[in-house]
């Protein structure tokens, strides 16, 4: 499939598009009974996932899993969460037909509008669900990690609403890049703790949150922000984010009378993507996860754990990660802080491994162009994270025949500084 032309961008585009189209011609839905084993009792999705953590945490993970089973399935919890999602977050979020974007990209494009959620992204679905669980478990102290600050803001918001304390660990480097969100978290009453080890970004913020949890495991709830980490986190996060896909699936069926041909979502740790994909796994629907290729996978400066990584353990789970020959974790790079993570959730690793979901990657530059496209054509400023999904839709739209559904996981207000810096360079 490689074309050996001297224009590398074009050939990369064609190759990615060709692989995606080949995938779309042969989508194999997962049998519903296979879904029941995803994951097994110890959080294994095939060989991925599991619980690679210090013994000190095992009791806490069992406690959390027991709470998941006994609390999250009760009508009391479900009703309370549904009420919060409806009356506080503003769910259901709409699906918007993007007429002008469809024309420009040459396909029939629908947008799932997670950007319209309170606090501006899908992260609140998970933060509220876990905070509510913490409250019902009698744990009044929340700790959370954050990269871009979106999960930190969502956690601080949930803590304020439910009257819990909240400590957010954030890499010192990210605190500089995301000053506004740091202030927002503090405004919400959260304590933001700078993390000064290693790369001083999200990876170390998670390390520090886990270390702190180990130390205070008896009264503290760790509110993890993506579909990563040891079991039962990937499962809890998926169960709380699947509202995205459940709603979107019903919305497509009721407005179009059919399912989309293909669904796209950006993949950082993978929470918005698994939330969107999960309800479609047994449908004949193409699912495409779009990672951050940063400056290009060949450059080594990227955040594509599936496309540019290998299998290993990071933050308690066996999955695809960025690592060197000795197993040291490599720093990730993406212009979008929310995708700037050297791993991916274990369920995605499984879905990639089995071929049920197709994973690809787009560069910083491609994502930034897609931000402009959506803003100028539809009046919707997407998060740079979400723009990764848009950018790949642009590459394949004209070759598809059915509806394309894209998860707009968040709004781009948080990215104004990055956009301004980019704009200055671009000379618009």
């Amino acid at each position: 499939m490689h074309s050996h032309t001297p224009a590398p961008d074009l050939s990369a585009n064609e190759e990615r598009a060709a692989r995606a189209l080949k995938y779309l011609q042969d989508v194999r839905p997962l049998p519903p009974q296979e879904l029941q084993n995803l994951p097994d009792d110890h959080g294994h999705f095939g060989s991925f996932g599991g619980q690679y953590v210090p013994e000190t945490l095992m009791a806490a993970l069992y406690e959390l899993d027991a709470a998941r089973r006994t609390i999250m399935s009760t009508p009391a919890y479900q009703d309370a969460l549904r009420a919060l999602l409806t009356d506080y977050v503003g769910r259901p979020t709409p699906v918007t037909y993007a007429a002008r974007l469809s024309e420009a990209y040459g396909g029939e494009i629908y947008l799932k509008r997670e950007d319209l959620n309170h606090t501006g992204a899908h992260k609140i679905n998970n933060a509220l669900g876990q905070a509510l669980l913490a409250q019902k478990m009698g744990k009044r102290k929340l700790i959370a990690e954050t990269g871009a600050g979106q999960h930190g803001v969502a956690s601080a918001t949930a803590a304020a609403l439910l009257g819990l304390s909240c400590t957010v660990f954030m890499g010192e480097e990210d605190m500089k890049r995301q000053e506004l969100n740091v202030f927002r978290m503090r405004l919400l009453g959260a304590e933001v703790v700078p993390v000064r080890s290693g790369t001083r970004t999200l990876k170390e913020a998670v390390n520090e949150a886990i270390r702190t949890w180990v130390q205070n495991v008896e009264d503290t709830f760790y509110l993890l922000g993506s579909a990563v980490g040891p079991h039962p986190y990937p499962l809890i996060v998926r169960d709380l984010q699947r509202v995205i896909g459940d709603e979107a699936r019903a919305q497509m069926l009721s407005s179009l009378g059919r399912l989309p041909q293909v669904v796209l979502a950006a993949v950082g740790g993978g929470s918005n993507a698994i939330g969107m994909f999960y309800p479609f796994l047994s449908d004949p629907v193409g699912l495409i996860g779009v990672e951050a290729a940063g400056e290009g996978i060949e450059s080594g400066k990227h955040a594509s754990a599936v496309n540019g990584g290998s299998a290993g353990v990071l933050h308690g789970a066996y999955s695809f990660i960025l690592q060197d020959a000795e197993g040291h974790i490599l720093p990730a790079h993406s212009i979008s802080a929310g995708l700037d993570y050297p791993g991916v959730g274990p369920e995605h690793a499984y879905l990639a491994h089995t071929g049920r979901v197709f994973y690809t990657a787009v560069t910083d530059q491609e994502a930034m162009e897609a931000v402009y496209d959506l803003t100028r054509l539809e009046g919707i400023l997407p998060a740079i994270e979400s723009a990764h999904a848009l950018a790949f839709a642009k590459i394949i739209a004209s070759s598809t025949s059915g509806p394309i559904l894209i998860n707009i996981s968040g709004r781009g207000d948080k990215d104004i500084d990055t956009l301004m810096a980019h704009d200055a360079k671009r000379g618009v």
């Binding site: 095992m58 270390r211 308690g316």
Partner: protein, 262 residues
């Protein structure tokens, strides 16, 4: 100490033998391999062996040491900056063995280092180099099956770690294990602590009920009185951060030994 049945595990037997023959206050020092150089680590191993360490624990530096506090994180960083590799550490063990050091050596190694190397290959290489045991702080019992197969095949002891939160898990965590039991004496990461957890002494009794292996206790031990409190209840004390920071400040092994044991 309890009399032990030897299981035919080479690493296990060497460790048990060492616990049998060492003096009453047994100590297990932890140093970071390659901090600040492999030559320094080699010198430290000789010094610790001379002082009668029961087992020497060598840290394999890792980029993301989840179970470690700042002192050992920084030591790992220094070692990595000096270019320390797994192979370099295996070679170091070969050198000290060739020089006649017989004290059991245990690697403290994060799970991804072993996975990347290959589980069986890592255990094989440990055996070939003269390492007696491996301690993998982020390997839960739940994920340990392939590692225990390699333990069985090579006789390299996979040292079980138990913590204050493991109480009801002890019966299966400690079933059919080899080497010694590492009792993590405080919640949290490695690092020195002012006070010992009050539950510790009764917990050590509980651990004993579930194993015939020697029981060593560590994590946060930094004072002579900690050692005095624990010695009657444990077969050895493990001292990590206190030694690592002493060395990082330019101190010698002999001086460190005097402050805690003289």
């Amino acid at each position: 100490m309890n009399e032990l049945e030897t299981t035919g595990h080479r690493g296990h037997e060497a460790i048990i033998q060492s616990f049998r023959t060492r003096p009453a206050v047994r100590f297990i020092p932890f140093i970071m391999g390659g901090d600040p150089t492999l030559e320094a680590t080699e010198k430290h191993i000789h010094a610790l062996a001379r002082l009668g360490a029961t087992v020497i624990e060598i840290g394999v530096p890792y980029s993301d040491p989840l179970a470690d506090g700042p002192v050992i994180q920084e030591a790992a960083l220094r070692a990595l900056q000096a270019g320390t590799t797994v192979r370099g550490l295996f070679d170091l063990v070969r050198r000290v063995r060739a020089a006649g050091v017989t004290v059991p050596i245990v690697f403290l190694v994060y799970v991804n280092t072993v996975l990347r190397y290959g589980i069986q290959a890592f255990f094989n290489e440990a055996r070939a180099a003269g390492v007696e045991g491996l301690m993998i702080p982020d390997l839960s019992w739940e994920e340990s099956a392939p590692f225990r197969e390699a333990e069985e095949a090579t006789g390299i002891a996979l040292i079980p770690l138990v913590t204050l939160t493991s109480r009801h898990r002890l019966p299966y965590l400690l079933k059919d294990r080899t080497g010694f039991v590492y009792v993590v004496s405080s919640l949290g990461v490695t690092g020195t602590r002012e006070e010992l957890d009050k539950r510790l002494v009764s917990y050590l009794t509980e651990v004993r009920k579930n194993t015939d292996l020697p029981v060593a206790v560590g994590f946060g031990i930094s004072q002579k009185e900690h050692i005095e409190t624990l010695s009657p209840h444990a077969d050895a004390v493990i001292i990590g951060s206190h030694l690592v920071s002493h060395l990082a400040a330019g101190g010698s092994i002999d001086d460190w030994y005097k402050t805690l044991f003289a």
